[in-house]
Symmetry: C2
């Protein structure tokens, strides 16, 4: 099955080629070695790498300089689940794999929109049939779906984002060509509406007072601030979007962490939302599926472009043309998540991470910091004191002094400066140890 | 874990809303019910749906009219694997799932580029280390990767495609905004270079005689024609691409079906290819992973844009920002594929489908048709006689008379008119039965 026996491969070619391609050190650029294809200008606008790999890079650089600290590192950085997958859900995954070994259980290409039964169960169990299964598109995750949403909207729309926010909204807008360049002083991209979310406005954007955008990205419970929007807040933004003809893209990936009474877990709990909103969601934080990869997006059949055509039809075109369905094995796991036993297991997982969040929150409060989030969300958003410098400085200091990886607020946009995000996705003993070190260093 | 108890959900709202949204029958369009967001004009350019769902739609429409035929339908249409996953590879998938239930075996987010070990094994086992693991990006499949490749190139490049070809190249070019509208008489999109592939040129494009394009898509063994390009042909196109400064996107998803001596299984067997080509590939047809979802793309570090920047860096930005890695369970299956036992199992699977192809090929030849492909490829491409009408007519006739689903050549672009694609991905007894019916009807 090898692509080429070694005798066919001209190793000489490889050596020559590699040798020929180190022009930089010689300061000679042989343009014949470059293609004639212009680089997509939108990629040149993106400053630096995507946030989370950059965090990993800085951690690794620290460990290269301090290899003896490797065992001490605790990550409260990227929101990555750490608890094993519980029994019933796991059995869904294992059985989903096993049956592919039998003639009757084998399946190939499935519907690109997801298995019919999974779409039905999502609509029923998670939305009480408030939405129709035909409005549910199963995918390999919310991050991937945000790019697909951007593909649907294309390069000519304007987007509004919370500031700070999950960096994928802005980065994909830039990649799609919706934006201008990044302003070096404000760190904002031209042609994106940044909606400040601050302690003063309860981290909820005042969209009405800002320029109109075609597409408004809103995440609740919020990453990174941990703020969970109230029914009144969501009703307000749904109404404003309707008035202004904006489409709301609601990111509900952290919905299962909501435990407070009356706080909506879906935008579709809000009257009129089906006319203006789509919802991106994920099993990642819900069931420990960050590595397993399963998500979904709801595009209501009411949601229409200016010409009356359905947004759902164009989203369906992206899903069928540029995606091939979530893994059949993984979808079996998704079905198990939605059984009563799976729901109980998920509830226990969420309890665990919320207890971590409580510990982090109380520790930081005990140290005198003003702390946000961490009750209906797995993220604790800490206001830094001015003496700590910028948020990247605080990140570096805590990494070096405590060997704890966090995320600087500035990584989530200019509005995140002055804050630090702590993730509750970690083993309990790591959270306790991290809190001990933070308490010693920051007291 | 429900998002909202039923008491919170205003069922009255749902009813009212649904009632309010049937303006069409009343011939009244209330624009207040539409958003103010313009539809992405590129989607309006796409005629009809994506090919393969359209085939399914026509089959289902036939079955609605003829429900008694449901048990008789045989699909030689979409190239969907049907053999169960063999034992060793299956154990890779099952163990990949099982270990997520243990603290030490659990994993969350992996590298977006794929697990290091899998990247190494792909480079070693499939490419004899002709490429470096850092040039391999593991994904959820070739179709998805083609869209990511398009995202890297953006809207301002020109693309060239084989005609006929796998429809994803053209459809994603249109979605990205690289093209004009579709000409109603030629069925070609403006600003795409269609490279005719006919029996006369051995289904290999004469790119040198056609206008230059920035990006050239080439698939070998070819879908749909079944032609496997020779070393001389590939050397020629690599050289022309280098001369013209084009980037070659080589789709090698059917490489394991090559059994003829000296036919390259990878573009990187061609001298100089690392300067001009990237390669998209997949485990789908290789190991029966069409529903499991695993693929990869090789972007050589030699491949550069006009400004000298690395294509690999921008591809990496797409992978990290708009993708989150292939499922960890699925990657475990990929590792098992690359073990010696897995390679043997794959060889047996390919034998099985190639024998199907031989049966199809010989049957159609016996009926007097000129037949292409089906030796180093799982597809048999049949030249239709003029008396059969267009290829969509032949598709319908064979569906109605034989209850056999095929794919009309015209579905792969205007150059496919006059041909019919038969897929060898089917159970043996189905292939034999289909051949019996075709022999009776077409004799």
């Amino acid at each position: 099955m090898k692509f080429s026996p070694l005798s066919v491969v001209s190793l000489g070619f490889v050596t020559v080629s590699v040798g020929a391609f180190v022009p930089k050190s010689q300061n000679v650029v042989d343009t014949k070695l470059y293609s004639g294809v212009e680089r997509n200008e939108n990629f040149a606008k993106l400053s630096g790498g995507y946030l989370f790999p950059e965090i990993g890079r800085r951690r690794n650089a620290y460990l290269e300089d301090n290899p003896e600290m490797a065992d001490k590192i605790i990550s409260l950085g990227i929101g990555d689940t750490t608890k094993p997958i519980p029994e019933h859900i796991l059995s869904g995954l294992v059985e989903g794999a096993k049956k592919l070994g039998t003639t009757e259980g084998y399946s190939g290409y499935g519907a690109e929109q997801g298995q019919a039964l999974l779409r039905e169960k999502i609509a029923k169990v998670l939305y009480n049939d408030l939405i129709d299964p035909s409005e549910v598109f199963v995918s390999d995750g919310a991050k991937c779906d945000i790019m697909r949403v951007q593909q649907v909207f294309g390069s000519k729309v304007t987007s509004a984002v919370q500031d700070p926010s999950y960096p994928v909204y802005v980065d994909t807008s830039v990649m799609m060509g919706q934006t201008g360049s990044q302003d070096e002083s404000t760190m904002q991209y031209d042609n994106i509406v940044y909606m400040p979310c601050t302690p003063e406005n309860g981290f909820f954007p005042d969209y009405a007072s800002l320029p109109r955008a075609d597409v408004v990205y809103l995440c609740s419970p919020n990453n990174p601030t941990g703020a969970a929007a109230t029914k009144e807040q969501l009703t307000e933004i749904v109404n404003i979007c309707k008035e202004r003809g904006s489409i709301l893209v609601f990111d509900a990936a952290y919905a299962p962490f909501i435990r407070s009474e009356g706080v909506p877990k879906s935008i579709f709990e809000i009257e009129g939302a089906k006319d203006v909103a789509m919802e991106v969601n994920s099993f990642s934080k819900y069931a420990g599926f960050t590595g397993v990869r399963l998500g979904w997006t709801v595009v209501p059949s009411n949601l229409k472009f200016k010409d009356g055509s359905l947004v759902r039809d164009d989203f369906n075109r992206v899903m069928t043309t540029a995606f091939n369905g979530a893994s059949n094995i993984v979808q079996s796991g998704g079905l198990a998540c939605l059984d009563p036993e799976g729901q109980k297991e998920i509830s226990n997982l969420i309890d665990y991470y919320l207890e971590n969040a409580k510990i982090l929150r109380e520790t930081m409060e005990g140290l005198g910091f003003t702390v946000h989030g961490g009750t209906d969300a797995p993220y604790v958003f800490v206001e830094l004191s001015e003496s700590m410098g910028g948020s990247w400085d605080a990140f570096s200091m805590i990494l070096e002094k405590c060997q704890v990886v966090t995320i600087p607020g500035a990584g989530f946009g200019p509005g995140g400066e002055g804050f630090l995000r702590l993730s509750a996705f970690a083993p309990r003993d790591s959270v306790i140890e991290a809190c001990k070190r933070l308490s010693e260093e920051l007291k």
